[in-house]
Amino acid sequence: MSKYLETAALLAATCLISAPALAGDFGLGRPALPEEIAAWNLDVRPDGTGLPAGSGDVATGEAIFAERCASCHGDFAEGVGNWPKLAGGEGTLADPDPVKTVGSYWPYLSTTWDYINRSMPFGDAQSLEADEVYAITAYILYSNYLVDDDFVLSNETFGDVQMPNADGFIIDDRAETEYPKFTGEPCMQDCKDEVKITMRARVLDVTPQTEEDAATAEPVEEAAEAVVQEVAEAAPAPDPELVAQGEKVFRKCKACHQVGEKAKNRVGPHLNGIVGRAAGSVDGFRYSTPLLKRAEQGLVWTPEELTAFLASPKKYLKGTKMSFNGLRKDADLEAINAYLSTFTE
């Protein structure tokens, strides 16, 4: 389209309510199919536009949250370590250290639903069903005391929820509040009477140090390596069907644990060679004190010990950093053992 026609179209467009056509004429690309648009057009607006039909209650949400979210966000959405806090913080926004959570800060509920749906759990995005997202969102609201424990969030009830900080935002006003103040010919001479140093970065000393200062990783005990060797040699080849089953079960783990060639320590240590490995022996991972204590006593992750741990992590090892409720089904435990045994160091 020529520049003239383009301008004409623009002028015409401004006169119409639903005007079409500021079309290009390269003829590149192809029309997107409805199924393709549906697959990617997932965003949800503050008014609920984009929400699929579905529902979930607080209790269901609590169970899913414990399994899929709590390892980073805490059982009560209070946040673990440096991971985001999702609950609490009400009334702190004007404090020296505001706590910005879904309850205290987020202006729209749509944002929570949308983000969980598209981007969570961390490391396993887009694995949740719509009803699960409704349930998790309901639980987060409950954790913030914004709904009662019998609340059911659905595309129907979505509009009923009032977010406390909905009116807490203003649109960028720097043009009025700052630019006039910070404009004009600046002072060049005798701009201050005296200059004093009021704060030094070195006093805080939070700047990262370079390689030579980094702490060296604790060495793996030779004895532990020997054990790994023995078990690895003794283990029979696992049933491929069971391994496939275990791969599915592992989806619950992979937000925190990696396996395979490129596996690295994340929230949890990498699990290559875990079956038969001495506990607490992965380089560079900071284990909990209780786990290190058991490791000192010679704990080895035999299939039996792993099964006992994974069935109920918190009962098996009080104070473990692993915030996972456990695998309830024996079949799942057997499958995860089989799956993990296929990854060697």
Partner: protein, 422 residues
């Protein structure tokens, strides 16, 4: 194998130790040599034998003596390096173009590997024909070249409450400046036939974080670029290979990497990255949103804590970077006394719109302590404020958009430290 007779130390501490030693007792003018320099009088191995053949390095990295010029991260900033940031070594670079390999990275779910043949870009929403483009399609639209800086809104964000990180890389390194090749977003929107009811575009990436931002249509039609090359070569993986969005002058979070979808709509999405993050809390607890433009800012990159003065008194090059997301840098002033008096620095070349400018102030250093500051001005007449001026308006909890004047305390030894002054 040839060994360097004086390999450069590659850690910061070793470098600082060397600097301090070199600074002491050096003369202001070049002294006569007492003995002949063996580097001149003796035949050196590199002057006698061979260097590398041309088939040694099909794609090269910097020479090993420069191995300290790398991106660094600050571990305590984030819970996991998968969703984190690292910093450009601006203290060790000169000119304005940032090499891709050391340009800061920020991703929310890791830098993904997306092949050109697997790449799809969708335009949907208020358009006549929702379209899908392949990478090959994008290469058939008329292209443009532009140099722009990309600055994370959180650059200098750790300094709101006072001097914290000791180095220009850490205080100001969430910035890079590259020459982009790409197609104007306008062209693609026209190809799909955007409707006038469309006041916004929502842009999102292909990675698991589905980082997405709403951009007003006016900006989308103005200078936003759908880019696939940077500094002449394909975008690096960590910069969004094969296609990223370039949103000149606006905060880096909007420069969607691995761009996969553009939705024309009548309202903003209010996604996580434009509500819970990238909004600026003011002193009374209300927060500013849609603070897209990066205001004028500057920093002296050398001398600075990681780039101390390694010679004695005499000629000293003070060098730094200045930029404005609202236009062109017209002037940079430098103070050596903490802001009592200022002199105008020399711009290496005339400022370019929404691109880094390099400035120099060449002085005769008398060896005394300095409180070094730089102050940028842009073509809107805006003058970079002091940190305290910003705090008066915003309080201490904004996190984002800290463009206050930085101070380096340079000691007589040549070492420098991040400080705040009255």
């Amino acid at each position: 194998m040839t060994e360097s007779s004086s390999p450069k130390p590659t850690t910061r501490r070793a470098f600082l130790r060397g600097a301090a030693a070199a600074g002491v007792g050096a003369a202001a003018t070049s002294a006569a040599a007492a003995t002949p320099d063996p580097l001149i009088t003796e035949v050196q191995p590199w002057a006698q034998g061979f260097g590398d053949p041309v088939d040694e390095t099909p794609y090269g990295l910097p020479i090993r003596f420069e191995s300290d010029v790398i991106r660094r991260n600050v571990e305590w900033l984030t819970a996991d390096t998968i969703s984190s940031i690292n910093f450009t070594p601006i203290h060790a670079l000169d000119g304005t173009i940032t090499p891709q390999g050391c340009a800061f990275e920020r991703h929310h779910s890791g830098a993904i590997e997306l092949a050109k043949e697997d790449y799809r870009l969708m335009i949907n929403g208020l358009v006549d024909t929702p379209l899908v483009f392949t990478y090959a399609d994008l290469e058939r639209f008329p292209r443009e070249n532009h140099v722009y800086f990309c600055e994370c809104a959180a650059n200098s964000g750790m300094e709101w409450a006072g001097a914290q990180l000791n180095g220009a890389q850490f205080t100001h390194g969430m910035i890079h400046n590259m020459e982009y090749t790409g197609v104007p977003l306008r062209t693609l929107l026209q190809e799909a036939g955007y409707q006038t009811a469309g006041k916004w575009v929502y842009v999102e990436g292909a990675d698991a974080s589905s980082n997405g931002r709403s951009i007003p249509m006016e900006k989308a039609l103005d200078d936003v670029l759908v880019a696939f090359k940077a500094n002449g070569e394909a975008l690096r993986k960590e910069h969004g290979y094969p296609v990223r969005l370039v949103v000149p002058g606006w905060e880096g979070n909007m420069w969607i990497k691995w761009l996969r979808r553009i939705e024309v709509s009548d309202a903003p999405v209010e996604s996580r990255e434009e509500t819970s993050k990238y909004t600026d809390v003011l002193e009374d607890g209300t927060a500013r949103k849609w603070t897209w433009a990066m205001d004028a800012k500057s920093v002296i990159t050398s001398p600075s804590p990681q780039s101390p003065i390694t010679h004695g008194p005499g000629p000293l090059v003070i060098s730094g970077l200045a930029w404005s997301g609202r236009g062109v840098i017209t002037r940079v002033d430098v103070s050596t006394d903490g802001g009592k008096s200022w002199q105008t620095a020399r711009l290496a070349k005339p400022g370019e719109k929404m691109a880094l400018s390099r400035f120099y102030l060449d002085i005769d250093w008398d060896g005394s302590e300095m409180l070094l500051q730089a102050r940028a001005m842009d073509d809107t007449g805006y003058v970079q404020p002091t940190k305290n001026q910003l705090r008066e308006v915003r309080g201490l909890n904004s996190i984002y958009h800290n463009n206050g004047i930085q101070t380096w305390w340079v000691r007589t030894t040549g070492e420098a430290e991040n400080v705040e002054v009255s």
